[in-house]
């Protein structure tokens, strides 16, 4: 069994997977009688060739960074957290409660409080599946799926029966006060030279970048990260080393849920300014694709999140200007997850084969 050089493993495998997904998507577009090349042009124009497009691409990127980091932290502890969606929605609840609770004097203070609220609520929603996994061995994949549904039911209940202001018909909270509005990129001196009009991307982007760096620091530069990674690689060995499985499972999932919840500062606080139903719009699931694509490394996540930000903004443009339904982006997302997450062995085998063509046969291996 030949093995791939490290750079191929890190760079080539995700790129080839992406290529496969792109080719299949192009075939799908052809099959529904549209022109894939045109589609790509619309996507690039709408997502990358204007300040407006970047404003949205970066807005989505911000959300995806948070949900993908959530997947990454859990992954390194050997846990597959599919509950990002529910945790992000609960994070939205945390943000809403914080923003509506007090008359915040300035957005900076409000942001700090909202980050805390979002992280706490997201973490709390991850805590139950984590505890069930750690203490009772309930499969975390199944429990987090269930918790996504329970979360959306809970949010519906709260929005309809508890948080909806009287007289309002749509199930949503009241608008957050003006002082909690986060500066968008066009409000930031310097950046406003590029972003001339209001865009949804906001200071949360910088929080997301900081989160990338902190997660990297946590995982590879602290004893806690060491323990998380060791536990994820081998639970038996971790027990031998005295790493407490319950503690690590809980900590990793709390961090994971907290990160997923923090996404809400971007969409709920930064963009919508109120909590609506299904505020996360599937970003929790996209986080899985982004994490897989980014090879479960914060830096890879950053790149993959921009890519998916592009895909999402570009996909919205497709829905707007062409007759290709917006659902195309869900297909692409699914294909990326399939190739990077489940068929990586196939991709790797193909690469090994290709590499073999270019390498002189070594003789006498033993």
């Amino acid at each position: 069994m030949d093995r791939l050089p490290r750079w191929a493993d890190v760079v080539l495998v995700p790129l080839v997977s992406l290529l496969f997904a792109a080719i299949l998507s192009a075939l799908v577009i052809l099959a529904i009688g549209q022109d894939p090349w045109e589609a790509l042009k619309v996507m690039v124009e709408g997502a990358l060739l204007s300040a407006y497009g970047w404003g949205y691409t970066l807005y989505y990127t911000t959300s995806f960074i948070f949900t993908a980091l959530a997947v990454v932290v859990a992954f390194h502890a050997g846990l597959f957290n599919i509950g990002g969606e529910g945790q992000a929605q609960l994070g939205g609840l945390g943000v809403a409660l914080v923003c509506l609770a007090l008359p915040w004097p300035h957005w900076t203070i409000a942001l700090l409080a909202a980050v805390t609220g979002a992280a706490l609520f997201g973490a709390a929603w991850a805590a139950i599946p984590a505890w069930l996994q750690a203490k009772r061995g309930s499969h975390i994949v199944i429990t987090t799926i269930m918790f996504n549904y329970i979360a959306s039911a809970l949010i519906v209940y709260l929005l309809v029966d508890v948080l909806r202001p009287t007289g309002q018909m749509d199930p949503a909270t009241a608008r957050f006060p003006e002082t909690t509005h986060l500066p968008t990129l066009n409000d930031i001196p310097g950046l406003n030279l590029f972003f001339e009009k209001k865009v949804p991307a906001n200071v949360s982007l910088f929080v997301a970048l900081a989160a990338c760096w902190l997660v990297w620091l946590l995982l590879w530069r602290t004893p806690l990260g060491y323990q998380i990674r060791a536990f994820g690689k081998s639970q038996a060995a971790a027990r031998y080393a005295g790493i407490n499985p319950v503690k690590i499972t809980m900590i990793a999932m709390l961090i994971s849920g907290g990160l997923a919840g923090m996404m809400a500062i971007n969409n709920v606080m930064g963009e919508a300014g109120r909590l609506v139903q299904n505020s996360s719009e599937g970003a929790g699931f996209i986080g899985i694709a982004v994490a897989l694509m980014g090879r479960n490394h914060p830096f890879g996540v950053l790149l993959a999140a921009v890519l998916f930000g592009f895909l999402y903004q570009g996909g919205a443009e497709l829905g707007l200007w062409t007759s290709i339904p917006i659902e195309l982006r869900i297909v692409v997302q699914g294909l990326v997850i399939l190739f990077t997450g489940a068929l990586d062995m196939m991709v790797r085998m193909m690469l090994v084969w290709v590499f073999g063509l270019f390498r002189p046969r070594r003789v006498g291996v033993a």
Binding site: R221, A230, Y240, V365
Partner: protein, 523 residues
């Protein structure tokens, strides 16, 4: 060498047709050449032994014969005809049955269901089950192979599970039965019973291939024996015409010196005192049933026993991994027990180091680099930290130093643990634990799957630690290792210690009886 060579090259004129002939079998797993051009011939109606060190390629060869792996080259001949065995189905059709080292039974099926699995008559179960029930009764009568056909496998003892495996093969009308290290999990008495069964099979004209690396069993049970070393076939001899010494030399490739050079022990004060230690497994079954002993400074206590008699649980209880009850006193201070607040961390802090039995699953994170593994278990130690962060530079330097001291090859701290050979992996673990200078060292199977050179090195390190006045608890299933390293020997059977022996005043026979659960007085 002595003895008549038999096989493809030198077939005795009088021999019956061979039940099996393997010709020029080779098989590589990536860079590892597990079998190199192996030829072997097994006469019909004999018990044929195959011996060799760990990793010699015995199991690989038999798995090829059973269609489990496909050989890279070579051919298989059954009853004088070349037969392709691309899968187990073909092997079964050719009359081959195999009992694997790790049983292949469905735990929550009954014996009957396991026996008919894959050998049902027709698509409905009812008929198959009735037929199998009758057949099992007959086999039980003919071969001393009785088991309750309706018992669930998970409720059976290991010995009985093995019988089910043999029944499975016989039910498929196997003419050739392969057993891969069947006695590793058996007591000597159970092993004797097994050999009686095998003799019975032989008398019925069946052919048996017995894989083992225990010389005693080869001498006792086989007609011919083939020796493998590092993927090659060294030779085949008639058992009656060889001796254990000769076989050992063939196996290892040079004269073996089983003695370890060491001076007599000078025991000091009591370091570890254990009282009435008990451990239950996850099913609530008591695996360690009240063990008490002491180890003094400058002393190696060896624990002998058949695998699975509670040695692992003893190590885990002392190492803070398995929840236990009883008392553990180290240097006069009682330690908390795992399950009551203690874990591997607190044990290390108290001065207990632990070389676990299974380095790949416990001792190392195979995907981590060597330098990360050098901190494994000690990752919170202050010298590896810089403020809140880990001091990775210090870790790398420490790793390089340990690699040099312990002659780890290649000495590259950034190489992943999985890329070192077994012996070097073991050296990394031993270096990590010994260099901590613990008061008590727990060592499990320190030389399993390790080559002779590394064995000698690791043994020396253990003795040196003893001479530095530390206490050592050694657990091994290799009697030779126990005999040569220990200053005192205890035998473990069924979760209990069967009494202590002085290595100079005992022998393998006596220890063997103790391992089988017979009390020392009767021996």
């Amino acid at each position: 060498m002595a003895g008549t060579r038999i096989g493809a090259e030198g077939r005795p004129a009088t021999a019956a047709p061979f039940a099996i002939e393997l010709k020029g079998i080779s098989k590589a797993f990536g860079p590892v050449q597990a079998n190199k051009d192996i030829s072997i011939a097994v006469p019909k109606g004999t018990i044929h032994g195959i011996i060799g060190e760990n990793g010699a390629g015995k199991s690989t060869l038999m798995s090829i014969l059973y269609g489990f792996y496909r050989a890279d080259s070579g051919s298989i001949w059954i009853d004088g005809r070349e037969t392709a065995i691309p899968d187990s189905q073909s092997a079964i059709r050719a009359g081959i049955g195999m009992v694997f080292q790790h049983f292949k039974l469905v735990q929550n099926f009954t014996v009957l269901e396991n026996v008919i699995l894959g050998a049902e008559d027709g698509p409905m179960l009812r008929g198959s089950i009735a037929k199998a029930r009758q057949e099992l009764e007959r086999l039980a009568r003919d071969y001393e192979l009785d088991v309750d056909p309706d018992a669930l496998i998970e409720d059976l003892s290991v010995g009985h599970q093995q019988r089910v495996e043999i029944l499975k093969a016989l039910y498929r009308q196997a003419e050739i039965l392969i057993l891969d290290e069947p006695t590793g999990v058996l007591t000597p008495a159970e092993a004797d019973h097994l050999f009686r069964i095998l003799k019975g099979l032989k008398d019925q004209g069946k052919t048996v291939i017995l894989i083992t690396h225990k010389l005693r069993e080869i001498m006792e049970a086989t007609d011919n024996v083939s020796v493998m070393r590092r993927g090659t076939m060294v030779g085949t001899v008639k058992t009656a015409e060889t001796s254990p010494e000769e076989l050992a030399e063939l196996m290892v490739g040079r004269k073996v010196l089983l003695e370890v050079e060491k001076t007599p022990a000078v025991p000091g004060k009591v370091v570890l005192a254990v009282e009435n230690l008990r451990v239950k497994d996850e099913h609530g079954v008591e695996r360690l049933k009240g063990v008490s002993f002491e180890i003094r400074a400058g002393e190696i206590l060896g624990i002998a026993g058949v695998a699975g008699n509670g040695q692992s649980e003893l190590l885990e209880a002392l190492g803070g991994i398995a929840a236990a009850t009883g008392r553990i006193v180290l240097n006069g201070t009682e330690l908390a027990l795992a399950g009551h607040g203690a874990d591997g961390q607190s044990r290390r802090a108290a001065g207990i180091a632990h070389v676990p039995e299974d380095r790949q699953h416990l001792g190392l994170i195979m995907d981590f680099a060597a330098w990360e593994n050098v901190a494994f278990g000690y990752h919170n130690a202050p010298e590896y930290r810089k403020g809140l962060l880990a001091d990775n530079a210090a870790l790398r330097a420490d790793c390089a130093k340990k690699m040099e001291t312990f002659d780890v090859r290649p000495p590259i701290p950034t190489l992943a643990a999985k890329n070192f050979s077994g012996g070097n992996q073991q050296k990394i673990v031993v270096a990590r634990e010994i260099e901590r200078n613990p008061d008590l060292l727990l060592v499990g199977q320190p030389t399993r799957g390790v080559d002779i050179g590394a064995i000698e090195f690791i043994h020396k390190q253990i003795v040196a630690l003893r001479d530095a006045g530390k206490a050592i608890l050694l657990v091994s299933v290799e009697l030779d290792e126990i005999m040569s390293l220990s200053d005192r020997i205890a035998v473990m059977f069924d979760g209990r210690l069967m009494g202590f022996r002085d290595p100079d005043k005992t022998d393998e026979r006596e220890l063997g009886l103790l391992m089988a659960g017979m009390s020392g007085e009767a021996a």
